[in-house]
Structure formats: C-alpha cells, structure tokens
Symmetry: C2
Subunit: 405 residues, 2 copies
C-alpha cells in the first residue's frame, strides 16, 4: 500500500499532460488522406454528369453510395449521403420521429407520454446524450460477448410499447470492441416488439476499422429484418470520419426503400442536400473497395501498435486485478477495474495529468452502477505519451484496489 | 386575341426546354471559385494552430467568423459556422425551439397548443415549407417597398402570444428584391410582442449580393434589438452558397451571446462541429473583406446582364399589362401579372417548355389569393435561353390577360 502510494506521488511529480479521452485519429492517420486536401482539383462532375458545385442531389452521389454499399450492408439505392457527421443524421432521425410520424405509427413520438430507448452498456456517451437532450428515457441492458443480452432485450421490447428504440454499435463496439454474433443480429431482426414503430439505431461506425488480419464478420441486419417483414425497423448509420478526415468526412443513412423515402421527405424540407464536392473528393481519393481496404490497412498499421502497447502494459501491471478488452477493431479498449473504484481512478489520473473519459460516461445519465468501467482511447497520443499514460493509469488502478482491499 | 393565341401556338411549336424555377448560380459563376477545388492544398492548420482535419471546434474557425462578421452585422464571437446549408441551421433553430426551451420561454414550443409565424408575402417557399412541416401556422403579412407592413406586424405580435416568429429576407428579398428600410428594422427591433420568446428569423441570404455599384444599406437589427433590450429576439442566418459553391459553401448563425450559448448547447448534442477544412478553404480563397467584395463584383458582372435582359424584354412586351421588380441585388425578379391569371400563365409556359416556380409558391400553403405573383430566377440559364424563356413567358402573360379582358 505505501509502495503504490509512493509510486502515485512520483507519478504526480512528473507533471504529465496526456489525453486519452476521445476516439480521435492521430495526425499520422490524417496524413494518410493529405491528397484529399487538393482534390477534386479541376474536375467537378459526378459519374452521371451532375455539376457537384451546384445545388441539388438530396441523396448524394450514386458512385459514393455504391462504394460504401457493401461495407455498410445496404443497397446503394437505399443509402443517403449526409454531411460530415453521422451523429447529426442520428439526431435528425430522432427529430423526424419526434416531430413527424414514424412509419407504422399512429402519431408523433413528441405526442407520446413516454418514449424510451434501450441502451446496451457499456455504450457510447453521445448516443445517450442525444436521448437525454430530447427527454427520451434510457433503459440499460447489459452487453455480453455476443452483443446485448438478447433475453432481456426481447423481454423488454415485447412488454413495453413505450420502448421505441435501441442503440447498437454492432461491430467493434464502443467501448468494448464486441461484434454482435449472428444469432444476436437475427434475434434483433425478428423479435416481437410491442411498439409498431420500434427502431434499431444501427450505428455501424467501425464497419471497416479492423486492427488485424483477422476481421470480425457482422450479419446483415437489414436483409434479415426485411426477410422477417421488419424492414422499417432498421436505421443504419455510417461515416468516413475515421476513414478519411475526422472533421471533413461524409456520413451515411440506410434503411428500407420506404424508410429512405420517409427520411428524404423530411430531409428535403431542411436542406438542399449535403456537400457533393466533398463526396466527389472521397470517390476520387478512395476510388474503389480495394482502395478503401488498402487505406484502412494503412490506418491499422499506425494504430495496432498502440492497442498492443496498452495490452502489454495492462498485462504487466494489472493482471489478476483488472480485466480489459482486446478488440479486433474499432477505437477503444474497455478497462474493468475493481467495483467501486473507477471514479476515484479517473479522478486520481486527472490529478496526475492523465485525462480520461469520465467514469460512468459509458452508461446512461453517467451512472455506472458498479463504478468499474473506464474507456481508453489509445489512437490520438504518440507511443511514448501512450506508454506514460497507461503506466500512470495502472498506478492509479493499483492504488484504488489497494485502498479498497 | 387571336394574334396572341397564334403567337402562343408558335411558341409551343418551338419545343423549348428552359428552366427558370430556382435561384441557382450559372456554371460561369461557379467557375469563379474553381481554385477552391484544389484548396487548402497542403496546409490544414487554422490561424490558432488547430488541425482542421480532426474533430472539434463547434463554433467554427475564428478567422472565417471574423471575415463575415461585418457583412452579416454580427460580432465574430457571436457567429457560429455551420455546414453547407443555412436552411439546415433554420431547421435546427426551429427544432431547438420546439424540443428545447427557448430563452425567455417557460416551455417548449412543442408543448404549446398553437405556434404561428408571420410570413411576409411574397416570400420564400422553403421558409414556408419548414413551418408547414412542423405544423407551425403561417399568417401572411403584405410586403411594402420598405419591407413587411409594420403596422400589421406590430398589431399582430402585440395581440397574439402564439405568434412566435417572423420570416425576413431583409436585403434584396426573395422574390421582390426589397431591402427593409431603417424604420422597418428599428420597429422590428423594438416592437412589443405578446410572446416573450418571439424570434425574428433574419435570413440575410443576399447580404453582399449586389448587382450594381449602388448598394442597398441595411440597418443593424442585432445592434438595435440589443440596445432595446431585445437581443435574444434575433436569429441571424447567412451563407456562402451564392458566394462560392452552391452545394459546398458554409453557413452562419448569429445572435446575442446568450442565444449563441443556447444554440451551441443543443448543437453540441447533435454534431462534433461543421467541416473545418471547408472553412479553411473558404478563408484561403476569399482571404479578406476586399477579396469577398471583388469576388462578388465578378458575380455581379456575370448576372447583371441577365437581370437587364429580363427587364428589357418585360418592358418591351408587358408595359401597362404587368409590373415587375428591378432589384439592386439578390437572385430574383417578382412579376405581377393581372389578378387571377398567374396559375394559368405558369401552366401555359410549362406546356411551352418553360419551367417556372409554381404560381402561389411565394405564399404560405402555395396560395396566392390574388393569383398574380410569378417568381423569375434569371441567373442559371445562359443569355440566349433567358431571352427565349422571358419572351415566351411574355406571350403567356399577354394571352392570359387577353382571355381575362
């Protein structure tokens, strides 16, 4: 105990200033897309001859939709290209359900007494914040190694018509890196819901963000739901924020043909369509599916060593004391420290100059009942910084555990 | 009568295919911004050193806000840069009022039994469509040469707390090219409203879109409202859609410091900020206020002849029969044909291959009670096409008038 306390005092004395809070690409990753900064150059016509510089084209360039159709498991005709933020598309989808009438519903969500979403935990804080902002209740459901606890999900959605949605990051999930099993996806597609307007918010943010040669396979939710007569249940989201440039990518919304018509009907009131020059820029830079794959391998080569560094240090420092995920892709590692110590660990790390996502952020309302989950975002710092930060974090975890023992 | 009928039959026989529907820039105008297609080149840092390629920066680059601050009459610190569509910012502002609590209000607009906006007519169809989509009632108010009929506006907003807003295109208005007088702006800033959360949607879309050396002056609404203690009444909108590239510009939202904090609070839930590389691209291309002015003069040189062509043909063909605006700026000419004939004129023009904005589109619910206003958008066609279209339109107007006489 006095040893680890001394270690912590030493750590503080080092005066670190490190940030592991958000899943931001490192500069070296952004450099991979440097050619985009001078594209499209002099060309400005899309494949069908459209002048991308002018107004129009609500659903986005056909060639860009075709390029991501396979990766996102949505037919190109059922994809819409949005602006630089898939979160904005999720925001808009909720707004359209609140202030418009969702397919299959008799009235707007805004007119319902209560609207609730299932929140698999640990999950993504920005999903939860969107619901909190709109007064949508969040009901936590535990994540398992195969995805959300489907027995619990099925029980809840069958019983309660106020439950209108579920948040899913189905591949390399934020934060624990889980990919939903084929059975989980099939059950989501076919389950009976009390709400006729139940929606799966399928945020496939890390669809192509593999770290290793071994790639996780995700079942095709939209195809399965369509087969089961539940096509309108599925809202698919994706983006190139972590493919090309984080602030200047493109986003995607996908669903059934009926859903796309519904979405475009509302979208067309609020915009003349997203930035088509940026869409053309993406097509010219990424070219084809092989181009995308090669580009994502270059990303993996830059960030895989960082994930390995975290794993190596945690294995050395915290074996038997904590557990953590070893994801095959995505942007995060989820660290489980002894119950009741996560908040204190994060507070102590901050005091030692290591900024972490607040403990609890992975849970609705910022409340992790076990106070044990810490999200680690290893991509942004360089390796030396990352080593210092994770070693420091390990000291804080050990001190927390020692005090609790 | 038979003469003009014969003329119309000849017109139809020509098999034209011309489009005067929307205020789109012509290719030659977009060419002015060709250098942007290869900007920012290799640079990607904003003036304060921010890596524009990464996440972050909700309110936009300071140098871009400074560049448009004077033109939009909003202090740079009270401007937010949005995506490629100011219409989307208007959509979002309404959503924030419907689903959040507006400053000064006790509850959300969504919880009010009735929400109404004043719609100066003729006005912009997309403004009206936004309200219709959200079930916001539109109350028409007549435009005068000095802006909306302020006696009527003051009477209505003082009497009815359900009236929460007014749509204004205060400079070179859509469609009649009017610039609000200093008195109109002062009255809007200081008038008594029954609703504590009344908002002026100040869509300053044509702030710098002069056609001639003589430029209209617009009084500073935000400054006047602030002086009168009504700072939160003002929502300012602007964009570069008709400055740089129509589909790939940037948009602006401005207001009081309190309004900006309120807006960012909601905006931050739904996005990580707009495309900063595109913001940098704009700064590099436009450089400074003089750069913007020179660029806008180049636009004017391209489109002024088109406005003059319309004026010349209408003067020759329709003097004494119709009236039309001769705007100093903006994108439209408003044509007033004999009462009760506009719909028929537009129908006949379409039959002759000349597409016009539907008669009535300039009024809420598409209903122009006098059936006399036709909006002409002269910028997109080339001069030969424009001459053919306006000459053809004149034939349709004369035929309509002859039938009615």
């Amino acid at each position: 105990m006095s040893d680890v306390r001394a270690e912590y005092e030493e750590l503080k004395a080092r005066g670190l200033k490190l940030d592991l809070t958000r899943g931001k690409p490192a500069s070296a990753q952004l450099d991979l897309s440097t050619p985009m900064l001078s594209l499209p150059g002099t060309s400005y016509r899309s494949a069908d001859g459209t002048d991308t510089r002018n107004y129009g084209g609500l659903n986005g360039l056909a060639e860009l939709r075709a390029l991501f159709s396979g990766f996102l498991q949505v037919p190109a005709s059922q994809l819409i290209v949005g602006g630089n933020s898939s979160l904005a598309l999720m925001h808009d989808a909720i707004v359209h359900c609140l202030l418009g009438v969702p397919l299959g519903a008799a009235r707007r969500w805004a007119d319902a007494e209560r609207v609730a979403f299932l929140a698999p935990v640990p999950g993504y804080d920005r999903h939860f914040a969107l619901c909190e902002r709109f007064g949508i209740e969040l009901i936590p459901v535990a994540m398992t190694p195969a995805g959300p606890d489907m027995d619990e999900v099925e029980r809840l959605v069958a019983a309660d018509p106020a439950i209108k949605g579920i948040w899913c990051v189905p591949k390399y999930s934020n934060p624990d890196g889980t990919t939903y099993s084929a059975e989980t996806v099939a059950r989501l597609a076919t389950m009976t819901t009390a709400a006729p307007d139940f929606r799966i918010f399928w945020d496939n943010a890390y669809a192509i963000h593999h770290l290793f040669d071994e790639e996780a396979e995700l079942a095709d939710l939209l195809a399965l739901a369509t087969e089961a007569g539940n096509a309108n249940r599925v809202f698919v989201f994706g983006s190139t924020s972590k493919v090309t440039l984080a602030g200047s990518g493109v986003s995607f919304f996908g669903g059934s043909p009926e859903t796309i018509a519904w979405f475009l009907g509302y979208m067309g009131k609020g915009t003349i369509g997203a930035d088509k020059v940026n869409q053309l820029r993406h097509v010219e830079f990424l070219r084809d599916e092989d181009g995308v794959r090669a580009h994502m391998r270059a990303h993996a080569d830059l960030i895989r060593p960082k994930f390995e560094t975290v794993d190596r240090i945690l294995s050395k420092e915290l074996s038997g004391l904590a557990t953590w995920s070893s994801p095959l892709g995505g942007y995060f590692i989820s660290l489980s420290v002894p119950e009741g110590t996560a908040k204190e660990v994060v507070r102590r790390a901050a005091e030692a100059g290591i900024a972490l996502t607040p403990a609890g952020a992975t849970h609705p309302y910022g409340k992790d009942p076990s106070d044990s989950v810490i999200r680690i975002a290893p991509t942004f710092p360089d390796t030396a910084e990352l080593e210092a930060a994770i070693s420091g974090l390990a000291v804080c975890v050990r001190l927390g555990a020692a005090e609790r023992a």
